[in-house]
């Protein structure tokens, strides 16, 4: 079975802190994605990556950056957390660029105080 693992299920951070959300997949997938989910707004794509050291902006990249140094790992970074970044963050991976089935991790619920 495909497994996508997110490092933390629940985090509480303070405004201005740097936050790292880690995601690891064990199926050698090329593609990895970060979404955030908010009530009434659904799932929105933050960043994605089709290969190591490659990244592309999604629909809401402002305030975020990403890192993909290894194929299996895709990190989401909040350089200076703000309260409007309180959300559920979902990492996903897929094997093929244009037709791949997407698999999600368990999610990381971040609260910024």
């Amino acid at each position: 079975d495909v497994k996508v693992t997110q490092s933390s299920r629940y985090l509480v951070k303070r405004t201005g802190e740097k936050v790292f959300l880690e995601c690891v997949q064990d199926m050698d997938h090329e593609n990895m994605f970060w979404y955030r989910q908010d009530p009434g707004l659904g799932l929105r794509l933050i960043y994605f990556s089709y290969d190591v050291k490659m990244k592309e902006k999604g629909d809401i990249p402002e305030g975020y950056s990403v890192s993909r140094e290894k194929k299996e790992r895709f990190s989401l970074i909040l350089e200076s957390a703000s309260t409007n970044q309180t959300s559920m963050y979902l990492c996903a991976s897929s094997p093929i660029r244009n037709t791949g089935e997407l698999f999600f991790g368990e999610g990381s619920r971040l609260t910024v105080l």
């Binding site: 794509l45 559920m88 037709t99 089935e101 997407l102 999600f104 999610g107």
Partner: protein, 110 residues
């Protein structure tokens, strides 16, 4: 951009009832997936179904790509079926990014 609309937005069922959830999309798509989001927030894959019909136990799905809709059938519903059901589409030449519908929130009462 493509619009993905799910209906109904909310659904309450008695345990044992059947239901049909619908997903309409406004443009041609590469693929379509159905997910179930459990109470803990994880999105669980139900079907990868760009066209045709698939069945998995009490659940089945049908996508009619030419008419731009997909249906998810839940038969003999159980309380564990509660949660939010999302459809998501991958649009041609959009690099494999999925566009999600707003979801159908299902509550199955014992």
């Amino acid at each position: 951009g493509i619009q993905v609309e799910q209906s109904p937005p909310d659904l309450i069922l008695q345990e044992g009832a059947n239901s049909t959830l619908r997903c309409n999309f406004s443009d041609s798509v590469n693929n379509l997936q159905w997910f179930h989001q459990n109470p803990w927030g994880q999105l669980i894959n139900l079907f990868y179904i760009p066209s045709g019909t698939k069945q998995n136990g009490r659940l089945s799905a049908t996508t009619v790509a030419t008419e731009r809709y997909s249906l998810l059938y839940i038969s003999s519903s159980q309380t564990t079926d509660s949660g939010v059901y999302f459809c998501a589409v991958d649009v041609y030449n959009q690099g494999g990014k999925l566009i999600f519908g707003q979801g159908t929130e299902l509550s199955v009462k014992p």
